[in-house]
């Protein structure tokens, strides 16, 4: 079982609210990722980080922002939630080394914006 945690697991919030989705891992991984997952669709990478103070946007355009101040923590923030942000958000982490590249995923946060 991977040691990667996401909170909250479920969130229902009104339009215009600011929200932060938390993600933390205890494996000391340098790489962390945020994906957006909709039913029947591939996982879309929205943000990633290769280390402290390093963040990049992924393929899918997102109005969210991320920060990486500590190795183990990679929160995602939406300044003003909209119904189009309704989705499942998955956080993952991985190491840089080795031939086997495994991304360890958290259980996800299911966000509903009303």
């Amino acid at each position: 079982e991977a040691d990667i945690y996401q909170t909250p697991r479920y969130l229902v919030i009104g339009t215009g609210k600011k929200i932060t989705l938390e993600c933390s891992q205890t494996m000391g991984h340098d790489k962390m990722y945020w994906y957006q997952q909709d039913p029947g669709m591939e996982l879309h990478l929205i943000h990633y980080s290769y280390g402290v103070n390093s963040t990049e946007k992924g393929d899918l355009s997102s109005e969210s922002t991320v920060s990486r101040i500590r190795t183990e923590h990679f929160p995602l923030t939406l300044e003003s939630a909209r119904p189009s942000h309704t989705s499942q958000y998955l956080c993952a982490s991985s190491t840089s080394d080795g031939l086997v590249v495994e991304q360890y995923f958290g259980p996800g946060t299911r966000l509903t914006v009303t």
Partner: protein, 111 residues
């Protein structure tokens, strides 16, 4: 555009049967091809992976077949069990970065 195309979208198999899920890719720079398994309410977890220098990898009942010339790879689940019912994602990456996922296949194994 979708860089890894996965089919079928859903699959129903009888217990004991063989489940086959297919993926195709375009980017020949991909050098790592994992399969992830996701149960409801959980995040995806790595099931098995292959690199393009081999054509097949087997781990227990799970086998990846890889066809480099056709740019295709597939997951075979032998003796499928109801506990295998989950969503399966293929993926591809370049030099351990930039993982691209397929759209997923929802597998149901009927008892």
């Amino acid at each position: 555009q979708q860089q890894v195309k996965q089919s079928p979208q859903s699959l129903i198999v009888q217990k004991g049967g063989i489940s086959i899920i297919n993926c195709a890719y375009e980017n020949t720079a991909f050098d790592y091809f994992p399969w992830y398994q996701q149960f409801p309410g959980k995040g995806p977890a790595l099931l098995i992976a292959i690199r393009p220098d081999v054509s097949e990898k087997k781990e227990g009942r799970f086998t990846i077949s890889f066809n480099k010339s056709a740019k295709q790879f597939s997951l075979h689940i032998m003796d499928s069990q109801p506990g295998d019912s989950a969503t399966y994602f293929c993926a591809a990456s370049i030099r351990n970065n930039d993982m691209r996922f397929g759209a997923g296949t929802r597998l149901t194994v009927k008892p």
